[in-house]
Symmetry: C2
C-alpha cells in the first residue's frame, strides 16, 4: 500500500504549487507558465513547445493566425493609452509576432453595472481609432454586464485573426545558434506609466506608455526577405521574460548585454526609486526579433525606418549552448543568469 502511494506521489504533478489562484498566476511569469503547462496544455491537447503568442492554423487553404487576450488594466486610462487602445494593440501585436498580417478582431466587453456611459463611449472610440491605426476591423462583439462589486469598471477581451504568408515560419523552434537578438526600442514605459497613474506618483516628466501596433515593422522585415526566426513582444514580464521563454522553448542560450538595452532616463530613474528592474517591466509597443546573423544590419536599417521601432538595437545573440537560459553581461562586466519573473511584479498592467 505504501508502495502504491509512493508511486502515486511520484506520478502526481499538482496543477499548481498553490491551492488557490494568486495574482501572480496572471503575471506572465513562472506561476503562469506552470498553470499553462500543467493545466491548459494537457486539457486542450496542445504541445508545450507550441506555446507562442498565437496559433497558426490551416483553414480552407489559408494559413491563419489566431490569438486572444483579456485586458484588465487598472486604471482604465493612463498616459499614452487606455484599455481600449491596449485591447486592440495587444492582440494585433500577438498576431504580428506570428508573422501574420492582422485583419479582424472580435471584442468582448464585461462591464460592471454602474460604469458611466461616457467612459464606455470613450473607450470604444479609442478602440475605433486604434483599429484604424493598426489597419484592422472589429467585426463581431459581445456585451455582458455583471453586478456592482463583481468587476472593476470594464474588462475587454479581444481575439484576432490574421493571414500568414506561405513560407513564413516564426517560432522558438526556428532559433539558431548565432542568431542576433534585436530589440525594437526603449523598454519599461508602459508598466511605469500605468503604475504612476494608478498610485498617483509624479516623476519629473510624465512617462507615457509605448502602446503601439507592431505589424508594420514585422511585415517590412518579412517583405525584405530578412530571415526572421522568431519574434516576441515584451509585454507582461518584460523583455527578460520574453527572452527566457524563447531560450527555454528553443533549448538554446541567449546572451544579452545590459548596456545595449535602451531605457529612457526618466524610466530608469522611476525604476530605481521604486526598486524595479526595467528588464522586467511590461511594454506594449516593443518586441524582440531574432534574425540570421548575416541579416543583422539590414534588419536594423528596416526597423529604424519605421517610427514605432526607430530606436531598434542589437542587444544580444543566441549561442550554441543547450542550456535554455538567458545570461546577461552587466554594466560592470559581470555575467549573471536572467531568471523568468517569479511572483508578481506589477499586477493588472494589461
Amino acid at each position: 500500500m505504501d508502495d502504491v502511494q509512493g508511486l502515486w506521489a511520484s506520478c502526481f504533478v499538482p496543477i499548481s504549487d498553490y491551492p488557490r489562484v494568486l495574482l501572480a498566476h496572471g503575471g506572465g511569469g513562472r506561476l503562469m507558465h506552470q498553470l499553462i503547462e500543467r493545466l491548459f496544455v494537457p486539457a486542450f491537447g496542445g504541445q508545450p513547445e507550441e506555446l507562442h503568442d498565437g496559433a497558426v492554423l490551416e483553414v480552407g487553404g489559408a494559413r491563419l493566425a489566431m490569438t486572444t487576450d483579456s485586458f484588465v488594466v487598472s486604471p482604465l486610462f493612463y498616459p499614452g493609452g487606455d484599455i481600449g487602445s491596449l485591447a486592440v494593440y495587444g492582440t494585433v501585436n500577438d498576431l504580428a509576432m506570428c508573422g501574420a498580417r492582422p485583419l479582424y478582431l472580435s471584442a468582448g466587453f464585461v462591464i460592471e453595472e454602474g460604469l458611466e456611459m461616457a467612459t464606455l463611449e470613450a473607450v470604444v472610440q479609442s478602440m475605433s481609432r486604434a483599429a484604424a491605426a493598426a489597419g484592422v476591423r472589429v467585426v463581431t462583439g459581445d456585451t455582458k454586464v455583471v453586478d456592482r462589486g463583481k468587476g472593476d469598471g470594464l474588462y475587454i477581451n479581444t481575439a484576432g485573426v490574421g493571414l500568414v504568408r506561405p513560407g513564413v515560419s516564426i517560432s522558438p523552434q526556428q532559433l539558431r545558434a548565432g542568431d542576433v537578438v534585436l530589440l525594437s526600442g526603449d523598454v519599461g514605459r508602459h508598466g511605469m506609466a500605468v503604475l504612476a497613474k494608478r498610485e498617483g506618483l509624479a516623476f519629473e516628466s510624465e512617462i507615457e506608455s509605448d502602446g503601439a501596433p507592431l505589424a508594420a515593422p514585422v511585415l517590412a522585415l518579412l517583405d525584405a526577405g530578412v530571415r526572421v526566426h522568431c519574434l516576441r513582444d515584451c509585454t507582461r514580464g518584460g523583455v527578460a521574460t520574453a527572452l527566457c521563454e524563447l531560450a527555454d522553448s528553443a533549448r538554446l542560450e541567449i546572451e544579452i548585454v545590459e548596456a545595449s538595452v535602451p531605457v529612457r532616463e526618466d524610466v530608469q530613474g522611476a525604476c530605481e526609486i521604486l526598486g524595479f528592474d526595467p528588464l522586467y517591466v511590461a511594454n506594449e509597443g516593443r518586441f524582440v526579433a531574432c534574425v540570421a546573423t548575416a541579416d543583422e544590419q539590414r534588419a536594423l536599417d528596416i526597423l529604424r525606418s519605421c517610427e514605432v521601432s526607430a530606436g531598434a538595437q542589437r542587444i544580444g545573440q543566441v549561442t550554441a549552448h543547450a542550456s535554455g537560459i538567458v545570461t546577461l553581461r552587466s554594466r560592470i562586466g559581470a555575467r549573471r543568469v536572467v531568471d523568468m519573473l517569479s511572483g508578481e511584479q506589477l499586477p493588472r498592467i494589461c
Copy 2:
C-alpha cells in the same frame, strides 16, 4: 441661438437613455440593442443590418465565420452544465448559426484572486470535454488574474472561427415571406436551471440546462440541400427575442403559434410559480431555423434525426407584412404582438 440648440437637440442621439450601464444593458434585450446600434456599430464601421451572431469574412480565399462571447454565468456550476461547457457551446453555436463548421476556439480567462485551483481545473476539464463533443480545438488562450472583490470567481471569453462553404448565405436578409419557422426543441430549461441553482429553489424535478453543441443539425440541413434562409440560437432573451431580432432585421412579420412551442411541464410549472414567460427564458441548445416552405417536412425529418434537435417543431411562418414585428396566436386564440425583452429578466445566465 435657440434654433441652433433645437437643431442639436434633434440631431443628437445619446448612446443610451441612461447615463450609467445597467444590468439590463447586458440582458440581450432592447437596451443591449440600443447600445450596439448607437455605440458599437458606428464606432466599428459596421452596418446595423449586418448584426448577426457572427461575422462572415473572406480571408486568403477562404470564407471564414468569426464570433465571440464572454461568459459571466453565476453560479459557475449548475444542473446540466457549467461555465466551461457553456463557453464552448455558446461560441460553437454562434458559428453554427452562420452556417459554418466550427473549427477553432480561443479561451480567455479572467480569474478572481483566491479562486480554488480545483474549481479552475474542473472548469477547464469541462471545456476540454465540450470541445471534443463539439469537434473543435481550443488553440490559443490567455489568463488574467484580478484582485479579490474585482471579479466573481471566473469569467471566460471564447472566440471562434469556422469555415463557411461556398454558396451558403444565412442572414436575416435572406428571409422570405412564406418561410416556415422551425424550433429545434423545448425551451426555457437553461435559464430555469441556472436560476434554480442560484436561488436554491427546489422544484418537483431538477431542471437541467439544455446546453449542447448545435453544428451537427445545422450542417445536416445544409448537407441535404435544405434551403436554410436564417438561423438564430435562442440564448439571452429566449426564442421571443431571437424572433424579434430576425423580424426587425428582415423587415418582415413573423407569426407564431403559442401552443406549438414545446415547453416541458416542469419548466412551465417553474415559470408560472416565478412569473416568467418561457418564450423569454434563455436556452443554450435551441435554435430557430427559417427554411423555404417546400422544404419544411424534409427539414423537420433531418432535425428530428439528430439527438440535440429531436424535439423539433414548426412554430410559425414568415408573412408578407413589412411590419418587422412578431405576433403570437395564444392558446385561447387571441393574437398579440411579441415584444423584444426590455429590461432584465434573469441577469448572468450566460
